[in-house]
């Protein structure tokens, strides 16, 4: 009896849907974002079909670049935040699908694990959006260049530390 080590179904499906969601949310506002994001979606799907992690990573990166392009064109902040979470979720699900497929395979029951992982990643994303957008709404009145520089510097430092 052989083992099918292809990506698991639930996570693959969620990964594809999240990527498509991310692309369509920003695609409504920006042609450039739609184009780049769509290429990312294709790369991600190919990565899932072929079980190639590099294609998945590349696809998710392209999705994010699409989000930034949309941001440069001045798309509303909330849309950008939601699309970013979509891209991260797409990456996480696709990566889970591939790694779980390789270690456990498609024939074994894995749905519970996948659902737990998906909900965790989604919840963290929703929390991040709420935190970012809430802070943005609160601080919108402030107009201190010093505060901005300090906060940005903090972002760079922490991001580098956590990498």
């Amino acid at each position: 009896m052989s083992v099918d080590r292809g990506p698991t179904r639930v996570s693959s499906l969620v990964g594809g849907v999240a990527a498509a969601f991310s692309v369509s949310v920003i695609g409504v506002y920006s042609w450039a974002a739609l184009g780049v994001g769509f290429l990312g979606l294709i790369s991600l799907v190919i990565g899932l079909l072929a079980g190639k992690q590099s294609a998945i990573t590349l696809g998710a990166s392209a999705l994010f670049v699409g989000v930034l392009l949309a941001g440069i064109e001045g798309v509303p902040a909330l849309v950008l935040l939601v699309a970013t979470v979509g891209a991260v979720l797409a990456y996480d699900s696709a990566t889970t699908a591939r790694s779980l497929g390789e270690q456990v395979g498609r024939n074994a029951p894995t749905t519970r694990l996948e659902l737990v992982r998906l909900s965790a990643t989604t919840l963290v994303g929703v929390g991040a959006v709420a935190f970012a957008y809430g802070g943005y709404a609160l601080a919108a009145g402030g107009d201190s260049l010093t505060a901005l520089v300090l906060l940005l510097l903090a972002a760079v430092l922490i991001a580098s530390a956590l990498r």
């Binding site: 698991t8 941001g71 970013t84 024939n107 694990l113 737990v116 970012a132 943005y136 940005l152 903090a154």
Partner: protein, 655 residues
């Protein structure tokens, strides 16, 4: 690590100051202009390049799981050229560096001395002069002056396949050697060059397929290597490596294009980067129970295995990937010995699968558990055994074959069932001879005396007991296909069936192996002996489907066996005849006065040049043994044992 901490502390300080500046702008009065903002943006972008580069250099890491569903794989004889050369190695213990050319030359000499009228010396000369084959390239190559680069592919297809010149030449050498072995003369036959090239090209393809399989092989045995219980590895999976790029890129781009929305995206990146830090439990997180539906199944029975795992860690385990330790010789026929799940503290999960029982004692190996943290950044590899060992024991019945086996003509001094070719006491009329003083009165042919007046004595066919020891070569694990039963499985099964056949015919039969003196049952008869044999064949560690290292050396085992054999014992050796040392041992037993018959399952394949060379090598071994007057039952892999025995007994290939 410290560097990261410094960064983190500075970052937190900057956040505090920034919020302070936001809440009370008078508190901090630094002279900061737009240039500072741009500088931070550029800094972020530089960091992006660094992080993204680091990520692109490192793929995600994770444990490889084997394939316990399948039978443990074995390779065909002659998996490598070196292995195939071993078939022709004349001196037993030479481990000198062996070139391809020397190996092929030895093989050529071996077949020339067996299948043509060459002596060792003339064969060597032929090979050195290149006059033994029609193929000038092969002749030159083995003669030692053939530069393989002079070989030019003669067909476009061969060019396209891009075979390396050496592969082509080796393949053609094997063809030439095979031609000698098959035809017995120095002409390589009618195969055209064109045919040879396409042939070798196909072999080349098979070779690469084989290599891919070889790459999988370490995987198969990894399970065993993981060995004992406990935490075997903690791995950084790296699946979230580079997530900070989201934050850094957003900050860099956002600052440069002055879009607050883009800056905000950076927050999402930082939150995910922080999320990926979570610690896995450090003590054993799971306990395992395993239940089998039948611990003593018959061969071929389906046995259901149910595994229950319980979360003992006291915390939620969000990502558990389990692969059960199915015994190597068993294959899973239904269900999957794997599970991916999440467990709350104290919660249990269950999965079951079906295996097909085979001969032997099969102990389950520890279950492999891969436990990941919620974000999946850390993966712990655990090996978890059940509290009490679980095993399947499968003891096949010993059924006699429907055919009888023609044994060698030697008997013991005890009366028995074997009809001998000598006259003496017995039941069946054999001959008459002139009366000699001392002949029993009751044996005088009185009718004849009445008719002719001469005294003559009736002679009967002597019926004697045969004492046979079944000797199993338990040191070779090969088969033509990777995931089927192998030579030892076949040998032990055959030994069991022939034991039953010979015993029910009334002979006294014992069991031994060439590798271990511990595996020994003196010749005997009766139901108790039969039961002992049955248990020995199924349970002895040396006879299990997985390789086992016996305590003593083969030389010592052979010596002990010799001392145990009483005179007038004949041997039935079960061996694929893959190793010259076994061939030597068989010939030594024959020379020492123990008549030997060999039952040899043929495991050779012919997919690659090295496999074909091994097949020729085995043929040479069979030839050598037969020339000593030892009958060999050459048992084809697709042939049934009764078929092979019947063919042997009827044609009487005995000398």
């Amino acid at each position: 690590m410290n560097w990261h901490r410094v960064l983190l502390v500075s970052g937190i300080a900057a956040v505090t100051l920034g919020i302070l500046a936001l809440v009370a702008p008078e508190a901090i009065t630094a002279d900061i202009n737009q240039a500072a903002v741009t500088l931070v943006g550029v800094l972020a972008l530089l960091q992006v390049v660094r992080v993204a580069y680091a990520r692109s250099q490192r793929d995600t890491q994770q444990a490889q799981t084997g394939t316990p569903e399948r039978r443990q794989s074995v390779s065909p004889p002659g998996e490598t050229l070196d292995d195939a050369f071993g078939y022709f190695r004349v001196k037993p213990h030479t481990h000198y560096r062996f070139g391809v050319r020397d190996g092929l030359a030895d093989a050529a000499v071996s077949v020339l001395t067996r299948y043509t009228d060459c002596t060792e010396k003339t064969a060597r000369e032929h090979v050195e002069n290149g006059t033994w084959t029609d193929d000038p390239l092969v002749g030159r190559f083995l003669a030692g002056d053939g530069d393989v680069r002079t070989y030019t592919p003669t067909s476009f297809r061969a060019l396209l396949r891009r075979n390396s010149p050496t592969d082509q030449v080796v393949s053609r050498c094997v063809d030439a050697i095979a031609a000698v072995a098959e035809n017995g003369h120095q002409h390589s036959g009618e195969r055209s060059r064109e045919e040879l090239e396409t042939d070798t090209a196909e072999n080349r393809d098979n070779d690469t397929a084989e290599n891919r399989d070889e790459h999988r092989n370490p995987d198969e045995y990894e399970r065993e290597e993981r060995g004992g219980e406990g935490l075997h590895a903690r791995r950084q999976t790296g699946r979230w490596d580079g997530i900070s790029v989201v934050a850094l890129l957003a900050v860099g781009v956002g600052v440069l294009v002055e879009q607050p929305g883009v800056l905000l995206v950076g927050v999402v990146g930082i939150v995910y980067a922080a999320y990926t830090r979570a610690n896995p439990p450090s003590e054993r997180p799971l306990s395992v129970e395993r239940a089998v539906s039948d611990e003593r199944p018959d061969p071929g029975d389906s046995v259901e295995v149910t595994v229950t795992v319980t979360n003992e860690s006291g915390r939620v385990l969000p990502d558990i990937r389990l692969v059960d330790g199915v015994p190597g010789p068993l294959s899973v026929t239904n269900g999957s010995p794997r599970l991916g799940t999440a467990l709350r503290p104290g919660e249990r999960a269950e999965f079951s699968y079906t295996v097909q029982a085979r001969r032997g004692v099969h102990e389950f190996t520890p279950l492999l558990a891969l436990v990941r943290t919620l974000p999946g950044t850390v993966e712990d590899e655990w090996s978890i055994a059940t509290p009490s060992p679980s095993a399947l024991t499968c003891v096949p019945r010993l059924d006699p074959l429907p055919v009888s086996l023609a044994l060698r003509q030697t008997t013991t001094q005890y009366a028995g069932v074997e009809e001998t070719a000598s006259a003496g006491d017995g039941a069946e009329f054999y001959a008459t001879r002139l009366y000699q003083p001392g002949d029993s009165m009751s044996r005088i042919d009185w009718n004849r005396q009445a008719r002719t007046g001469e005294f003559s004595t009736l002679l009967f066919r002597e019926e004697r007991l045969l004492r046979v020891v079944l000797v199993i070569d338990a040191g070779t694990f090969v088969a033509p296909e990777p995931n089927t039963e192998h030579t030892l499985d076949r040998s032990v099964d055959a030994a069991g069936q022939l034991y039953a056949t010979l015993q029910s015919a009334g002979h006294s039969v014992g069991v031994a192996t060439l590798q271990s003196a511990a595996c020994w049952l003196p010749p005997g008869t009766g139901a108790t002996h039969r039961e002992k044999t049955r248990e020995l064949l199924a349970r002895h560690p040396v006879l299990q489907s997985t390789p086992y290292e016996p305590d003593e050396s083969p030389v010592r085992a052979k010596r002990i066996l010799r001392s145990r054999l009483s005179p007038e014992t004949q041997l039935l050796v079960f061996s694929p005849l893959c190793r010259p040392s076994v061939v030597r041992t068989i010939r030594q037993f024959e020379a020492a006065g123990y008549p030997v018959t060999v039952v040899s399952p043929d495991p050779t394949a012919a997919n690659t040049p090295s496999q074909r060379l091994a097949r020729i090598g085995r043929r040479v071994h069979v030839t050598d043994i037969r020339r000593d007057g030892i009958p060999v039952i050459d048992w084809g892999w697709d042939e049934s044992l009764p078929g092979a025995v019947a063919r042997f007994s009827s044609t009487g290939v005995s000398p």
